[in-house]
Symmetry: C3
Subunit: 436 residues, 3 copies
């Protein structure tokens, strides 16, 4: 017999997350195509992703899965045949989902197809045209100003053909079938915070949870924004309706404080826990109400699903100047921020997982703590008795309507102390799980 090999437990680190983002950065992603496939393949080295292909034309609620887009090259060249704008320099240069083009155009016509940011003359903006056939180039303002020749050759070597939309999914079975959904969008090209930071944090989180004994089951989905989430919901409608809680993960590498956007329902357990953890960590963290814009919480919280899914980011979308520009690069995100984001997610999910409802088995009057070694000492002892108070609160409030978080909040006691009190009382037989 061979000796067993000791498996080192996975140790998440911000450095690993940043490295992963670095590997993914150069890939030209879109809502379909090989960029998504390559991305999911790299993530599969971390976690055993199931990769699903949904054919173009598939009806997904009010939408159709679009034709698949791929691109190999693109440029604008001048009369001298020099590439003055070159896709090989940055995949942001091409309007994402551009139709193929190869022709000579006047400067006037070209300008109708150019996007730039006058306020940030060295940055390339990120633009898309998924559902309206168009072509275009995104350039820096400085590049734009140098386009002065009367004619240019434009070339976009893209294809828009029947193919499929690709997404990845990873499921960890827990003690119960009730699912927690973690969703990240996988469709943005070379943008680091939006959303390689999300992919890096979520894949580390998935790997950590895969090695734990979880109460809930966890499902991680890596989907193209909007159409990908809609496709997942359409293809998994019955299962999706049973998602008990969820978080949409994005923008997790910058230095800003956290913002949690509540689910449409607004006060579900995940909403309460996210608020409890974030406010407990840093008063600058913000909790905001749901609004029907942003990331894929728009779909998860559409009225037909109305799931208990919030969105947890650092600085929210559109609120930092580098958002959707070439300045959202690997320098914008840091290993420290990624690791802190990972810890916050883990803290929230761990609290959720432990937030059970217990029943006091001896509800008539207090039980005699002393005979079970749970009562400190003599009466009149005015020292700090935080743990004894935690025991008393837990006994008093375990009448079926309060979770451990409810008890922690009502008693203004840290959740982990209440959790510990509940464990001690359960060991003594004074508590039992309400759903056991």
């Amino acid at each position: 017999m061979e000796p067993e090999v000791a498996v080192e437990p996975y140790q998440a680190s911000g450095r690993k997350m940043h490295d992963l983002a670095g590997r993914l950065f150069p890939i030209c992603r879109s809502i379909t195509g090989d960029g998504v496939r390559e991305t999911l393949k790299i993530l599969s080295e971390e976690i055993p992703l199931q990769v699903i292909e949904v054919p173009s034309g598939t009806k997904v609620f009010d939408w159709d899965v679009p034709r698949e887009w791929n691109i190999t090259d693109a440029f604008i060249s001048n009369a001298a045949g020099e590439r003055v704008i070159d896709f090989r320099q940055s995949n942001l240069h091409v309007l994402n989902y551009s139709i193929p083009v190869k022709r000579r155009v006047s400067l006037d016509e070209l300008r109708k197809h150019l996007y730039f940011l006058e306020d940030y003359p060295d940055w390339i903006p990120y633009r898309t045209s998924y559902y309206k056939e168009d072509w275009g180039f995104c350039v820096t303002y400085n590049q734009y100003k140098q386009l002065t020749e009367p004619f240019y050759d434009v070339y976009i070597g893209s294809t828009l053909e029947a193919g499929s939309l690709t997404y990845g999914e990873y499921y960890i079975r827990g003690q119960v079938g009730d699912e927690v959904l973690i969703s990240a969008h996988v469709c943005h090209p070379s943008l680091a915070n939006d959303n390689l930071s999300g992919l890096a944090v979520v894949s580390s989180l998935a790997r950590t949870l895969s090695e734990r004994n979880n109460y809930y089951s966890y499902r991680f989905v890596f989907v193209p924004g909007t159409i990908g989430a809609i496709t997942w919901l359409a293809q998994n409608e019955e299962r999706a309706r049973k998602v008990r809680f969820g978080l949409v993960a994005s923008l997790l590498g910058d230095k800003g404080a956290f913002t949690y956007k509540r689910s449409r329902r607004g006060n579900t357990e995940i909403d309460q826990i996210a608020e409890y953890i974030l406010k407990g960590r840093d008063s600058r963290n913000k909790i905001i109400d749901f609004f029907p814009y942003g990331y894929d919480e728009r779909q998860y919280c559409s009225p037909g699903f109305n799931l208990a899914v919030g969105c947890l980011s650092r600085t929210p979308f559109g609120q930092y100047v580098e958002y959707h520009t070439s300045a959202d690069n690997l320098d914008l995100i840091s290993a420290e921020s990624l690791e802190e984001s990972y810890n916050v997610y883990l803290d929230i999910l761990s609290t959720l997982d432990q937030n059970r409802v217990y029943l006091n088995t001896n509800p008539n009057c207090e039980p005699q703590l002393g005979k079970r070694g749970l009562y400190s000492l003599k009466g009149g002892n005015n020292d700090a008795k935080a743990f004894q108070m935690a025991l008393l609160w837990t006994l008093n409030l375990t009448s079926g309507e309060n979770s451990l978080l409810d008890i922690a909040k009502r008693s203004q006691t840290d959740f982990q102390i209440i959790r510990e009190a509940a464990s001690r009382l359960e060991e003594c037989g004074l508590l039992k799980l309400a759903d056991a």
Copy 2:
């Protein structure tokens, strides 16, 4: 064949309202009698009022319709036979509902029947004694001081006889039978703000609504205060119980900010809309809770009816010094104030009429706005997108529990923008009326 005569649509104006108040001002009204009849006849020139006579002695809940009071003349004359107090100068001079009197009295006795305001020596107070048989004169303090002769002749040429109580009613049928009640009291003699302003605003409002295609049906009642409202409720008990919303209109011609007094139920749709409109117009406008005193909301909000009826005035009763005195005259009310009051009422009623509940016909995920021409342009466009946000909010919240006002409030978007968004979505088949 005669050519059709183009009918000019009615155009409300503060000037017309003030003129109407001016015509009504000289009439001596009370809770019964010819003054009310004459008033309703003049209002009938504006709107086709139905005039109802309820005989004296008719049992109306805990009350009986009183004997009818009429008066032709009244005076106090001195030893020289000169009228020192003369009803022909002001109908306020007579204690309203005074019994007939003709005799010589000593100054001492006379003084027991005199009412005056020491603080406002030129103003005549307005006093009534509907249910206790009495006679009296209301005089200025300056007049009072000049009554120094030992004896005076008093004459009140009134009658108190079996007759009837008179009220007016006007009904505009809407798409549904659910009724909105607008009530104004019609019993005060020569007092302009209280309540000729109410009669003027309400009759203009009725005329405007009569030319519209309304969702709700509207019922306008012009009733003597207290006993008139009680009589209307008693005579129309079953119909009254079905009144869905209502407003009591009074004190609408002065320059003060508006005060909306909530219905007894406190948070009905009319309460919410009145607050929304008033606070949206001017932060000085006030919203106050129901209390069982004031105008006929006392009756509509008695516990047996408990209707969703509020009271909307400018300066509330008793809170301006001219209240219930001869200084509440045509100079106290202005065309501008009347017109603004009219506009506020119309705004509230229009909002109420349009405040429907819609259902999203495509509730699973967002619909594809682009293919219906509802999506502006490319992603990443950070320009103002108020209308697109209104579309998204409306789609997200039309799950059956929210009216358009609820959506406007939750999204902090103007009601009319949400209304417009709902119309566009309804045209595309993405929304339908919940009660259709």
Copy 3:
């Protein structure tokens, strides 16, 4: 026939309460034993207490009634045979529930059994060891410092034997069987505020209520803290579950403002009334939320009972420096404070007793107050009309969902004025009791 002797009604006074506390002060009480019996015997001179003995070993929920503790003498004597610590000087000197001891101990060993307060060198602390067998002495810090000899003789003349736990109960039958429970702990030795003040106030209160015609039935229990309340609840389980309201009385003789600790349910009628009365009397009075520590509200509010029982004290336990020391003596409590506490309790209980729900028998529109002599006079009278407003509020809100307190609060009118209005309206037949 003998002439009837006129019985003077009982007149409570702070002086009598202080005198009673003075009689009870010297007795050495504990959770069992003759001290409690002697205390209840003295209270029986005021009110006809039923005294109940529950044998040691009786199972009371999770607990067992302990062995009975009695003590006759105790001391520490020095080599010269002098009593340096003497139970006869203060019964606080002995650790309450000490096992019997008679032996010579080294100073080192003795010190392990000594309790003192370094910060208050002349005060003796109060300590107990009910459930862990131990012995000890409580001494002043000055005494402690003088214990310098190498050996001392210790003697504790106590017994711990099968016997019983003793409590007292007094029941006053009211118009209905629904019970109000007043509970005071009777187990502390020579401590005046905690809780001879409670015994004095509660026994005066009981005597006063015994001479009234009450709506509710009242039950007064004088029980040893914790184990006594648990015993009472266990022995009277079915009756206890029906307790409709209750108050735990303690710490009622000091000069502090009142603190009402809400029941676990938090917003029951007794909670509302206590808050209404206390806040109406003095804004310094405090209302705090329930927490599972303190006096016997811990047991009454355990989740299995969850009774509407609050705790009303002056300065709360542990928040005054004399708490559980020899400085909590008869000088700490005053006749004025006791009498004021009595008045507050009586006010709360009287309000509770009168806080009925009435129904308007004429709910459609206002009734005609004038024909019943309830309407003051003419219209336009702007004088204070508090009582008329009270009548109108009471008529308007007696639709079945409001108690008189609810009406008082909503109308911002004193409860007694609303009470008076309801009486007048009931006399006229305009109101009837909802449960009649």
